[in-house]
């Protein structure tokens, strides 16, 4: 990879100042996507700003929500007992990302800021109607994801934490690509006092999306049978050598049924 200067800010404010000072700089979270990107020379930053010393790791549980710091690793989330009890969908999702070593380094903030169309976390954020807290504002899940590798974040904006409301029920079902372990299709379902939300990742080239027809059917009848006949238009779905668009459309239905059937 090309060389760069490595910067170690001790606070978010310092990180933001560094981003402003160096136009060609990039933030480093867990690095499990970004370091491979650097090796492939797909990105050539002048400065890499490491967030590990900025105090963004940690989980706090409040009466109606769970707040996960941006630098919290997937392994920490997967092992957190209260998240396992209150939002089991998130525990399962975190425990299936990559492999054990990737989960020890990869972070929720890094995953969301990157918005890979096959990443898992965007589906949890969208289905649970979470809010993204940054150094300057809070962004609703519905406004955050903006298509392939694109988010509402400003170039000098830093995610500090993600706030998840505690649902009545949640679950995540993932059909993993057998080699990369990314989601061929991942479906997160959440049932709350204000309704049902279903978010699908991996299937669309535009990234995560809400499945309104599934949401409507499940808000009338929370059961796997209720969505058995619901089809997913395959127009915008990925169509490649791993699977056709029609195959992915079918998987969306199967994963939704599995997620609902196993929801706690």
């Amino acid at each position: 990879m090309y060389d760069f200067e490595f910067l170690s800010p001790h606070s978010v404010a310092e990180a933001v100042a560094m981003l402003r000072d160096h136009e060609e700089s990039k933030l480093l979270a867990g690095g499990q996507t970004f370091i491979p990107v650097l090796k492939q020379r797909l990105s050539r930053p002048s400065h890499v700003i490491d967030l590990s010393g900025a105090g963004l790791a940690g989980i706090s549980v409040l009466s109606d929500r769970v707040v996960i710091g941006a630098m919290t690793t997937h392994a920490t989330v997967a092992a957190h007992a209260v998240i396992g009890e209150r939002i089991p969908g998130i525990s399962r999702l975190a425990s299936w990302i990559g492999d054990r070593q990737v989960r020890h380094r990869g972070t929720i903030g890094g995953s969301l800021a990157n918005n890979d169309p096959t990443a898992c976390y965007p589906s949890a954020v969208l289905a649970l109607n979470a809010t993204i807290k940054t150094d300057r504002r809070t962004i609703n899940a519905d406004d955050f994801f903006d298509g392939l590798f694109t988010t509402a974040l400003e170039p000098d904006e830093v995610i500090e934490a993600v706030e998840f409301p505690i649902p009545e029920k949640s679950n995540y079902a993932k059909f993993r690509h057998p080699a990369s372990r990314y989601a061929m299709v991942g479906v997160f379902v959440a049932k709350t006092g204000s309704g049902v939300r279903v978010a699908v990742t991996g299937a669309s080239s535009n990234g995560v999306f809400r499945h309104r027809a599934m949401e409507l059917a499940l808000s009338r009848d929370w059961s796997a049978d209720a969505v058995a006949e619901i089809e997913t238009p395959s127009d915008d779905l990925n169509d490649d050598h791993h699977g056709s668009a029609a195959y992915r459309a079918h998987l969306v239905n199967v994963m939704t049924r599995r997620a609902v059937a196993g929801a706690l």
């Binding site: 200067e5 491979p36 054990r100 990737v102 020890h104 380094r105 372990r181």
Partner: protein, 169 residues
């Protein structure tokens, strides 16, 4: 740009100059001469480069050396005892023929030790097979690797019970 970092490697504090782009595995192999940690794929798939950072198994080809500043790194060279006696998992790899060409072995052992340490004495065959997802072996078919890890887990759990009992006494 070169800058000095300080880290603990296999118990010893080391101070090394590294570039921003230097990978942890490059630091270990090229600067510190610890060539037991292997580079297989260099794309975080194969797990030949697994080491422990502050007790967690990580792929040292997908971590920058600067990210290890101030941390404790354990490599395969740091597992055996001072007098050279093998770590129980190394001994069980030999006993159960858990390697053929040996290229993946350091990573397999570092991942296996992490799995055993965090299993609190309850490690099933399924846990081991699932836990080795990030380590690829092209020779053995994994079977003897799994056997070796389960055998070492049983030995280490036994050791824990014995030391707990002697602590009680």
């Amino acid at each position: 740009m070169m800058e000095a970092i300080q880290l603990r490697v296999n118990g010893e504090v080391r101070s090394v100059d590294v570039e921003g782009r230097t990978l942890l595995v490059e630091l270990l192999r090229d600067k510190l001469g610890l060539t037991g940690t292997h580079v297989g794929c260099d794309t975080s798939q194969c797990g030949a480069c697994v080491v422990h950072v502050d007790g967690d198994s990580v792929k040292s080809c997908t971590m920058l050396a600067r990210q290890a500043n101030g941390r404790a790194v354990t490599t395969i060279e740091g597992l055996a005892g001072d007098s050279g006696e093998l770590h129980p998992l190394q001994a069980m790899f030999r006993e159960h023929h858990g390697l053929q060409c040996g290229f993946c072995t350091p990573g397999m052992i570092m991942s296996g030790v992490d799995l055993i340490h965090k299993s609190f004495g309850e490690l099933s065959e399924r846990d081991v097979r699932h836990g080795l997802e990030g380590n690829i072996c092209r020779c053995t078919g994994y079977h003897n690797i799994v056997k070796a890890i389960l055998a070492a887990a049983a030995m280490m759990a036994g050791d824990r019970e014995i030391s707990a009992k002697s602590a009680d006494a």
